[in-house]
Subunit: 313 residues, 2 copies
């Protein structure tokens, strides 16, 4: 690979001068500049970002952790993060953790060694140590779509889950449902807990309590669209019809939710907008050399489609 030195020699100038024309920050004589630019073109020189990083003491890279890239919501989040980060000259390292603590810690270690400038967490284990590990090394962290947290050093970006659950329950209650269940991957995912709390609160307001899905529920609210879709599959394989026997509601409004075969009633959450904000916040914090400490809740909108209906009789 050609180096700055190669270019300098070819152009008959010093390394400093080549560096100056590349960064365009210092004055360089027109003629010299042209000579250097020609040398760059001729050698096909690309600056070595690793050397630059070492000197600059920043990697210009951020990390993003998602529980499952196969879930289109997280895929959109990852794509959004990538796009926004690239636009700012940052690379992104993805970690698909499946909310496994061990995988989370491995990712943390790798990222610390690679000196990522910040981390966006889209999902993590229930009592995850991830944020603390990172924050203790002064790496800014923002939680996207994960709810609030005790640590004040943590940035938080989320949907208004309480409002969303209230809207869902109101919709179901209005249709006549009184036996409602909630499904989520409790054990693994942190966010599940939170939406469940909102769900319970909305039920309580109507003097109801959650029941188990197998306990004769006429409606089930899922933690997200993928789980709603999996629930439909499970119900239908048992011979139950959706929505005739059971209504199902999701969360996210992934592209598939509006498919003719699915037509899922759900709540729209804007993964792209969320990722854009997250990248912005985390990079701003990194540059200012502080934590994010910003909390924001995005609005959310109920989309009624064809998986919810009045309960039988």
């Amino acid at each position: 690979m050609t180096t700055l030195m190669d270019v300098a020699e070819r152009a008959g100038v010093s390394k400093s001068t080549v560096s100056n024309v590349i960064r365009g920050t210092t004055m360089v004589a027109e003629e010299t500049r042209l000579r250097v630019q020609r040398a760059i073109a001729e050698t096909g020189y690309h600056p070595n970002a690793i050397a630059r990083s070492l000197k600059a003491r920043t990697s210009s890279a951020i990390g993003i952790v998602v529980p499952d890239l196969t879930n289109p919501f997280y895929a959109q989040l990852a794509v959004g993060v990538e796009r926004a980060a690239n636009a700012l000259g940052y690379a992104v390292l993805t970690a698909n953790t499946e909310c496994l603590p061990e995988t989370e810690e491995q990712a943390a270690r790798a990222w610390i060694e690679r000196r990522v400038d910040g981390v966006i967490i889209g999902g993590m284990a229930l009592a995850s140590t991830l944020p603390k590990i990172l924050l203790d090394r002064d790496i800014p962290v923002i939680l996207a779509s994960l709810g609030e947290f005790d640590d004040p050093r943590l940035g938080v970006l989320d949907h208004d889950d309480a409002a969303a659950m209230e809207a869902i329950v109101a919709h179901l209650y209005g249709l006549g449902h009184r036996r409602l269940a909630f499904v989520s991957d409790h054990l693994r995912e942190h966010a599940g807990e939170r939406r469940y709390l909102g769900f319970k609160a909305a039920l309580k307001k109507r003097r109801l309590v959650p029941i188990a899905i197998d306990d004769g529920a006429t409606a089930v609210v899922a933690h997200n669209d993928m789980q709603a879709i999996a629930t439909i599959d499970r119900l239908e394989r048992r011979g139950l019809k959706v929505p005739d026997d059971v209504s199902v509601v999701g969360f996210d409004d992934i592209p598939l939710a509006s498919h003719s075969r699915v037509q899922l009633t759900t709540v729209r959450s804007d993964a792209v907008e969320m990722s854009r904000r997250a990248v912005d916040l985390v990079i701003k914090a990194a540059r200012a050399n502080r934590t994010v400490s910003h909390r924001e809740f995005l609005d959310v909108q109920l989309i009624v489609r064809a998986t919810t209906a009045r309960p039988r009789k």
Copy 2:
């Protein structure tokens, strides 16, 4: 951040010695080793991978380009690549290009600057310059699921598309279909072309030619599952029934394909196995300082489900 120097001072030894105990390659006196390890633990030292990379002249990072992470096949490919690469101590940089030449070139530039050790391409524009740009800088490149290529420096890993298309057409022909169409994002995606060729060849064997989907096709073969699912949506919104009016076949067997509401007839392709092989090949090539130059075609299996049936009368 603590550096090697900090640890050395704390342990009262030289940088070399600290480096030696960390890498465990040189003999170090037991007592010294313990002192150094204690100093590492006390300071929470993590080696700076950037400095190490600069010295080693490799980034220990690879790139992967996918057209659309939202397609579960590519998500699985990306996850598989990540897992396999991490296990070998490599980081992975993802580029979601949507097969846009400009985005591809941007990714190439960023990756060259960051000195990635190799690149896996899961999809690219039709006349993409991506492979050449990379190969010309001696970065090993492997094409996954993209067909063969003229450049002998390119590694190739693919499914046996011709066999797959033959199996699909045989199945459809056996059911009585004679008016078959193929759908794909021709214009953008490179791989589409190839599967279409296999499709045409299989038809020709039966003295048939492809017709347009709107030309009274009784069966349509899609380039992949996501396009098959989108096709079902489009057909059903027009009031046609699948498979009663039109049969539909996909490619990939993404998890959704077996869903009760979809039950797509498709061909199974193993994204995870493919990604594992790809990572292995590209990293091996990188370490040996040569290109991949390996061609391999994975077997494929037709899965008949409920989107294919005998044509009407």
